[in-house]
C-alpha cells in the first residue's frame, strides 16, 4: 500500500516537474562542468552496490566506482542516501547532482536525463524458491506474481513477460517476499543476486534463467547538466587502467562472510539508538511542541465569531486531516523546490509533522474548550476578566484535563509517524534499521530492534501521560 502511494506520488511529482520546467533546471548550461563538491544520490540499502558495512560506513560497488571517478576528476564526492522510489524526484528537486545506483540505461530514461556511458554490464536473472520446478524461463512468468521495485527496470521486464507485479521497497524485500512464499519469482540484477547467493548461508532461492538483453548501468544527471563529457572520460580511464575490473572482483568474485544475527544486533544496537536520540526523539518533541502552538491558535480561530477566520481554520484542518501525512511530507520536500523553496530534510520533516499535529490537535483543543460549561466563561467575565485572561486562567487549565488523553494519543502516533521521515532522507530509527538489514537480509532482527525502541519510547510517554492525568485530576471527584 505504502509503495503504491509512493509510486503515485513520484509520478505526480514527475508531472509537476514537466509541467513547471524552466526555472530550476536550466541553471547549469552545457559547459558548466562538475561542481567542486559533487552530490551523489544512492540508496544505501542496495547490497552489494550501495550499502553500509558493519562499522556503518557507506560502501559497495557503485560507491567504490563513484569514489574512483571523483578522484580521477579531482572533485569531492558527497553521498545523499535516498530511497529508490524517490531517487529521480530528489534528483529533479536538486537534492543531489548525480545518481550512482545501478541505474539501467533505457531510451525513455535517456530522453528525460543525462545518462553516462556504462560502467558495468549485466543481465537480469529470474529467481525462484528452491522447491519451485514450474518456472524455468522468463516466459514462464506469465500470470505469476513477482516482487519488484515499481520504478526499476526489472519491473518492466517482468511486466513484459506477463507477470503481476507486487511493489516492494528494494531487492532485499523482494527476496524476503520470495522466500516467504508471498510471490512466485523475482527478476533482478545478476550481479546483485550472485552476491546474495555468495554471502548467504541458506539462500533458499535459485537462479533459473537469464534475460536476453544486456543491461548497462550508467550514472544519471539532470537533463542539460553538462556533466557527461567529464564523467564519460573518467569511466573510460578507469576501464583502461583496470580499476573497474578490480572493483568488480572485490564484490562479485570474492566470498564475503555474512555476519550472524547476534553480531548484527550487537553492531547495530548503538547506531539505531543514536538515530533514535538524534533524530526520532527530537523530531517528535520539536514537532509536537510547535504543533501544539499551531493547534491552540487554529482551535481558537475555529471558534471565532468572525466567519473569515473560522473559514480559514476549517480549511486548514480539513486539508491536514484529509490528505496522507506522506503526501504532506513529499509536497514540502519534493514539490516546494519547484517553487524555489528548498528545505533541508530535518527542518522539512519538522514543518510537515508540526502542521500535521496542528490540524489534529486543533480539533482536540476546540472540543475540550467547548465541553466546558458556559457558566465558566460567565463567571470569569463577571469578575472582570477579558478573553485572553479567561482563556489563560480559567478555560485552558480545565480544557487541559479533557485534552490530555487524546493529545497523548496524537503524541504516541507521532513517535511512530516520524518513521515516514525516512522517505525524505532523514536517517531516523526505521531508516537506520533498513540500512542495517539491507546487506544481510536479516529483517526480523533489525526491525525487531526498531520495534522495541519505538515501544520503549511509547511506554515512557504513557507513563508521563498517567502522571499528567493524575495531576490534572486533582480537582475532580474520584
Amino acid at each position: 500500500m505504502k509503495r503504491t502511494v509512493v509510486a503515485a506520488l513520484t509520478a505526480i511529482l514527475a508531472l509537476v516537474m514537466v509541467a513547471a520546467p524552466a526555472t530550476a533546471y536550466d541553471k547549469s548550461s552545457p559547459a558548466a562542468g562538475l561542481p567542486p563538491v559533487l552530490k551523489v544520490g544512492t540508496e544505501g540499502v542496495y547490497s552489494p552496490f550501495s550499502y553500509h558495512d558493519p562499522s556503518g560506513k557507506l560502501t559497495g560497488f557503485d560507491i567504490d566506482v563513484m569514489n574512483a571517478i571523483g578522484k580521477k576528476l579531482g572533485v569531492q564526492v558527497q553521498y545523499v542516501e535516498t530511497p529508490w522510489d524517490s531517487m529521480f524526484a530528489a534528483l529533479g528537486a536538486q537534492r543531489f547532482d548525480v545518481v550512482a545506483n545501478e541505474v539501467t540505461f533505457n531510451d525513455e530514461r535517456n530522453g528525460l536525463y543525462d545518462l553516462s556511458d556504462p560502467y558495468v554490464e549485466t543481465t537480469g536473472v529470474v529467481v525462484v524458491a528452491d522447491d519451485n520446478s514450474t518456472i524455468k524461463s522468463l516466459a514462464d512468468l506469465k500470470g505469476k506474481k513477482t516482487a519488484e521495485n515499481l520504478t526499476s527496470n526489472w519491473s518492466e521486464v517482468a511486466k513484459g513477460a506477463g507477470a503481476t507485479i507486487v511493489g516492494v521497497d528494494g531487492m532485499t524485500e523482494a527476496l524476503a517476499n520470495l522466500r516467504q512464499g508471498r510471490v512466485d519469482a523475482l527478476v533482478n540484477d545478476k550481479l546483485a543476486i550472485q552476491n546474495y547467493l555468495a554471502t548467504t548461508k541458506n539462500p533458499g532461492v535459485k537462479v533459473v534463467a537469464q534475460t536476453d538483453d544486456v543491461s548497462r548501468s550508467v550514472l544519471a544527471a539532470r537533463k542539460g547538466s553538462g556533466y557527461l563529457p567529464q564523467l564519460n572520460s573518467a569511466i573510460a580511464a578507469l576501464k583502461a587502467d583496470g580499476t573497474l575490473t578490480s572493483i568488480y572482483d572485490k564484490y562479485f568474485t570474492a566470498k564475503v562472510a555474512a555476519p550472524t544475527t547476534w553480531e548484527l544486533v550487537r553492531n547495530n544496537a548503538w547506531p539505531m539508538l543514536r538515530a533514535t536520540i538524534t533524530n526520532t526523539i527530537p523530531l517528535t518533541i520539536i514537532s509536537f511542541a510547535i504543533g501544539l502552538v499551531i493547534a491552540l491558535v487554529v482551535g481558537l480561530a475555529r471558534m471565532s465569531s468572525q466567519p473569515v477566520v473560522t473559514g480559514l481554520a476549517r480549511l486548514y484542518i480539513s486539508v491536514i486531516r484529509g490528505t496522507p501525512l506522506l503526501v504532506q511530507l513529499f509536497i514540502i520536500f519534493y514539490a516546494l523546490p519547484q517553487l524555489g523553496i528548498k528545505i533541508n530534510p530535518f527542518p522539512a520533516a519538522i514543518i510537515a509533522f508540526s502542521l500535521n499535529v496542528g490540524g489534529y490537535a486543533a480539533e482536540i483543543i476546540r472540543s475540550a474548550v467547548q465541553s466546558l460549561p458556559r457558566g465558566q466563561w460567565e463567571a470569569a467575565s463577571t469578575i472582570g476578566m477579558n478573553y485572553a485572561t479567561t482563556l489563560r486562567r480559567v478555560i485552558l487549565p480545565q480544557a487541559a484535563r479533557t485534552a490530555v488523553p487524546p493529545l497523548s494519543n496524537t503524541l504516541i502516533s507521532l513517535v511512530k509517524d516520524t518513521s515516514l521521515a525516512s522517505t525524505i532522507l532523514v536517517v531516523e530509527l526505521l531508516r537506520q534499521a533498513q540500512i542495517a538489514a539491507a546487506p544481510t537480509f536479516q529483517f526480523f532482527a533489525m526491525y525487531g530492534v526498531a520495534a522495541l525502541y519505538y515501544w520503549v519510547i511509547c511506554l515512557a510517554l504513557s507513563a508521563v501521560q498517567s502522571r499528567t492525568e493524575t495531576r490534572l485530576n486533582r480537582f475532580v471527584a474520584a
Binding site: S305, Q306, P307, P373, G375, Q376, E378, A379, A380, S381, T382, I383, G384, M385, N386, T389, R393, V394, P397, Q398, R401, R474, F475, V476, A477
Partner: protein
C-alpha cells in the same frame, strides 16, 4: 438614602420571543430588592442584564456613577462590539458581583483561590494582601476551615457560600443573586439564606431573584413581581406578598404556597 441602581424601560427579545417588555425600577443603596415571578417571566434575564451578561435591546441601566444606554450598544460589522463599548460594559460589570444558581466556581482552584482570583488577576492586588482579605471573606461566610479545599470537596451549600465570598471580593456596589438556593438540597438552603440575611443586615445593596417567599418577607425592602416581561406589582413585602392587589400576583402566590 440615595438611589444606587436605576433601570429604565429595559426591553429584550430572543428571536420572536420578547422576554422583557418594558421594565423600570430603582433600588436605594443599602436595601434588598427581591424579584419574584413565575418561571419564564424574565426575572433571570433582567438580573443578567444588570451585569451585561445579556445585552438588552433597549433601556438604560445606571449603577452608581456608571450609566449604560443599551440602545447605543450595537455590534460592529463583523459581529464584535467596538472597544469603547466593551470597556463601558466592563465598567458596568465591575459595579456588581454575581452569585449564580449553579455557583460556577472554578473547579481547578481552591475556595481561597476562587475568592482572590479577581482581585489578584484583574485588579492587580498583591497576593499576600488579597489572601488576608480572602480568608476574612471566607470566615465571613463561615468557611474559614475550608479555604484550601477544591469545590468538589465541598457541599452544595458550602460551594454557594464560596460563590458569595467570590462575589464580594471584587468590592461591588451591588450584589446580584440569581436563584442562589434553587439548586440546593432543602436542608442546605438555610445556611445560604443565613449568610444573605447577615449581609443585608450589614448594609450590602442586594438584588435577589428568588422563590424563597419567607426570605423575601423577612429581608426585602421591596419586592418586584414580574410576569410576561413586565413589572406587574411592586412595593414592600407587606403589600406585594402579604396583600397582593393584582390578580396575577395573587394566582402566582397561591400556586407557590399551595402547590398541591
Amino acid at each position: 438614602m440615595s438611589t444606587l441602581v436605576t433601570v429604565e424601560h429595559l426591553a429584550k427579545s430572543f428571536g420572536d420571543h420578547q422576554v422583557l417588555q418594558d421594565i423600570s425600577f430603582g433600588a436605594e443603596a443599602g436595601t434588598v430588592t427581591c424579584i419574584i415571578g413565575p418561571s419564564g417571566s424574565g426575572k433571570t434575564t433582567l438580573l443578567r442584564s444588570l451585569n451585561a451578561l445579556e445585552i438588552p435591546d433597549r433601556g438604560i441601566v445606571t449603577i452608581g456613577d456608571c450609566t449604560v444606554d443599551f440602545a447605543t450598544i450595537t455590534p460592529g460589522p463583523r459581529g464584535r462590539l467596538p472597544k469603547a463599548q466593551r470597556e463601558l460594559l466592563a465598567a458596568l460589570r465591575a459595579k456588581s458581583g454575581m452569585v449564580y444558581q449553579s455557583h460556577n466556581l472554578f473547579p481547578h482552584k481552591t475556595a481561597l483561590e476562587n475568592v482572590i482570583e479577581g482581585p489578584v488577576v484583574v485588579q492587580g492586588e498583591a497576593v499576600a494582601e488579597a489572601t488576608v482579605r480572602g480568608r476574612e471573606l471566607l470566615e465571613r461566610v463561615g468557611l474559614s476551615a475550608h479555604a484550601d479545599k477544591y469545590p468538589f470537596q465541598l457541599s452544595g451549600g458550602q460551594q454557594q457560600r464560596v460563590g458569595i465570598a467570590r462575589a464580594l471580593a471584587g468590592r461591588p456596589s451591588v450584589v446580584l443573586f440569581d436563584e442562589p438556593t434553587s439548586a440546593l438540597d432543602p436542608e442546605l438552603v438555610g445556611d445560604v439564606l443565613g449568610v444573605m440575611k447577615s449581609l443585608a443586615a450589614e448594609g450590602w445593596t442586594m438584588i435577589v431573584v428568588t422563590h424563597e417567599l419567607r426570605f423575601a418577607q423577612q429581608v426585602a425592602d421591596q419586592v418586584l413581581f414580574i410576569d410576561g416581561g413586565l413589572v406587574v406589582e411592586s412595593g414592600p413585602p407587606s403589600e406585594v406578598i402579604a396583600n397582593p392587589q393584582h390578580p396575577r400576583t395573587q394566582a402566582f402566590l397561591t400556586r407557590l404556597l399551595e402547590p398541591i
